[in-house]
Every structure is written in C-alpha cells, then in structure tokens.
Symmetry: C2
Subunit: 220 residues, 2 copies
C-alpha cells in the first residue's frame, strides 16, 4: 500500500481463489463502471451480468460468493456497493508506484498506456541497461541506469516492476528487481523466470492470446 494513499480501506479478507476468478472479477468491475458512467443505478441481477459478460449466471454467482453474500436474493447486486468491494478485493482502491525496466518499443508503449493510470497503476520511474538511453525523458519520467533501481525503489516506495527486456536478460533483471525489495513483477519477456517465495510474478504471454485466436479460427 502506498504511503501516499489517502483513503482508509475496508478490511475484506478473502480466501485464495483461482486466478481465472480474479480475472473475471476485473471484467465484472469494468462492466459496473461502465453501467455507472451510463447513469444506470438499478440493482444488477446475475442474469444481466451474465448477458453483459458472456459468463453464465451460475458462474457469476459462484465467483461473487467467494467474497461473502453480495446482493439480495431476487433483487440483485447494488452497483455501487459491489464496485467498492471489487476495488478493495482487487487492490485497486489505492495508488501503486511502478518501476519499468527495459525502455524499448514495448516499454515506451507501456509508459503511455492509458489503461494503467486510470486504474491507479502509475509508472513513476524507468530503467534501462543501455547508457545511450539514460537521461531520455518520457513526460515526467527520466530513464536511469538499472543500478539505480534499489535506491529509487526505496526513495519512491516502488511496489511493482514491469519487466520489458529481451528474454536473455530477463532473469538477471528480475533478480535485480527482487534484490531491490520489490514484491510484484509483471513480466513481458517470452521466457519462464524464477522468483523466491514471497515475490509474485505474473507473466503476460502475448502469443498465448494469439494462439487462442488461431484455435477459434481453426475450430469454427
């Protein structure tokens, strides 16, 4: 939790739940936000959520049941209340300070990716091993040497790192991130990496998404 977070957060303790349930919660949250933006404030039934998401109503109820008894039988979920709960569960009721390591094309794309900051994910510093990139500016962010990461991570209370370096460098960079005391890593390098217990590594494998598309095209 960022020191700069001004909001107290409700303590909702949830059991360990399957990764795909968490991803569906993110989807539910997006739908609720959209409905609210459209001025829709009616309680939401699991059937309507099913229609909006494509998941079955039973799946919706099962997913939300992990977090206690939201919603009233026969009435539906309160859009505001469910949104607040989901924000708390997903950890997006606060601001996260993030270091980006690897300022290539993908790194540069993520520095300006609008989907992050609107959810409270702020890339506040950027690092690269290439000295010719040091000092380059992207908005308020200046690219620094990777050796500065431990100091900056402490000073700026960095809680996550996004790793966008070539596969061959990724393990070494992840080791440096871990040594800097950062506990959450989002890895874009197309390679398997090791982290010690107590550190969370989430890998974004873009070719798995495109394989899903080729599966759909092949089997339809």
């Amino acid at each position: 939790m960022a020191d700069s977070d001004p909001q107290p957060r409700p303590m909702i303790k949830v059991p360990r739940i399957p990764p795909m349930t968490v991803r569906r919660l993110s989807t539910y949250y997006r739908i609720l936000r959209t409905l609210e933006a459209l001025g829709d404030s009616e309680p939401l039934s699991s059937e309507r959520m099913s229609h909006l998401t494509g998941f079955t109503a039973a799946q919706v109820r099962r997913d939300l049941a992990y977090f206690g008894s939201f919603g009233k039988r026969g009435v539906g979920y309160d859009i505001q209340e469910l949104q607040l709960s989901l924000r708390s569960i997903l950890g997006i009721d606060r601001q996260w300070a993030i270091a980006l390591v690897g300022v290539g094309n993908l790194g540069m794309a993520l520095l300006s990716y609008r989907g992050f900051s609107s959810q409270g994910f702020h890339i506040t510093s950027a690092f690269d091993s290439d000295a010719t990139k040091h000092g380059r500016r992207f908005g308020s962010i200046v690219v620094r040497p990777v050796e500065d990461l431990p100091r900056v991570a402490g000073e700026e209370n960095i809680q996550m790192a996004i790793v966008t370096v070539p596969p061959a460098e990724a393990q070494r960079v992840v080791d440096q991130v871990v040594a800097a005391g950062i506990k959450g890593i989002l890895n874009f390098a197309p390679t398997q990496l090791q982290v010690p217990k107590g550190v969370w590594l989430v890998r974004v494998d873009l070719s798995i998404e495109i394989e899903y598309l080729s599966y759909l095209l092949t089997n339809s």
Copy 2:
C-alpha cells in the same frame, strides 16, 4: 489456413471448450517443447505435468480428455504425439499471415516481438492512418495507408489482424478490418468493440494482468 502451408493436417474435430482450457493447452504445449529441447523423451505423467505447470493433475487430465484419450494409463503421455495433437488443435501447425493496424510504440514492439513468429504467426503487412508514417520500413514491412487493407488482405491472404490504435479509433478500424474479409482480430485497444457473427475478436487487456498482480500483493 494459408495457401502456402505445405503440411497436410490431421483432422481432429474438437468440441467447443472453455477459453481457459485453451490457454492451458498453450501452456502444456510450451512445456512439452521445452522438455523436447532439453532431450527429455520419457512419457510424461499428468503428475509431472502438474508439477511443471502448477495446475492439478486432475485438471491436466480433464483438459486433455477433451481431445480423446491421449496417454496410456500408468505410463503417461508421449511427448511427441501430444505436441503434434496440441499443435493441430491450437491451429499452430501452419503459418498465419497477419496485418498490423496502428504503428505506434505498441505496434512497433509487436512488429519485432519474437514470441509470435516462432509459433507461426507472421506479421506480413502494417497499416496506419497517419500519412507521415507511410513508407516507413520495419525489416521487410512497409507501412501503408489503412485504405489499402482490403486489397492487401486479398493479395497476401491475410487471416488475422492485430489492432493497436487508440481506443477512440478502434471501432472504426475494426469495421475496416471486417470489411476487408478478415475473420480473426487481436485487439490491444483498452475498449469494448463489436464484431459481426462469424468474426472472432480476442481482446488483450493489459490492465487485467496488472490487476491480478495487485490482487496477489493485496491478499498475500
């Protein structure tokens, strides 16, 4: 299927299976490929696959049961045979020709993303609405006006499009892609889009992955 595909493919008809099962199949395939590259040719038990992937052995068996009876009871899966079957099911036993629309930082990153071409996904053309980008070269690819898409899609037998344009332009671009007769779209724009029946749209939402990381950090 590309006209240029030289290999006959086994006809394995599979039922409609859950999206997450397909993504796990991609993971299994990666593990098998790694084992083979390491010279490991012993039959693979579902327990070992469980250990290597983190999914339960029951989950592994259930996923593979969708596709008939791979493996021998008490012996395990033949690494070569299972790989071939997964390649066929996932549609990666052929080459795919892909158009990229939107040559910003993310588009440029994907043009050089190594994880795609190693799986048979080849970006063969690139398009942008910005005239100042037309004619720019990335390897063998020259950026062209979006208006050229229908003609190029036909000439180069394009089967998929990757859309990396700003959210406000995404629906218009997707409509153009659909009008060009392309049936598979991988969308990176952080927005919901509509496509007609018979066209497959897979959205890569990078903030859902980072939310999963914030969930893990928040609830651990």
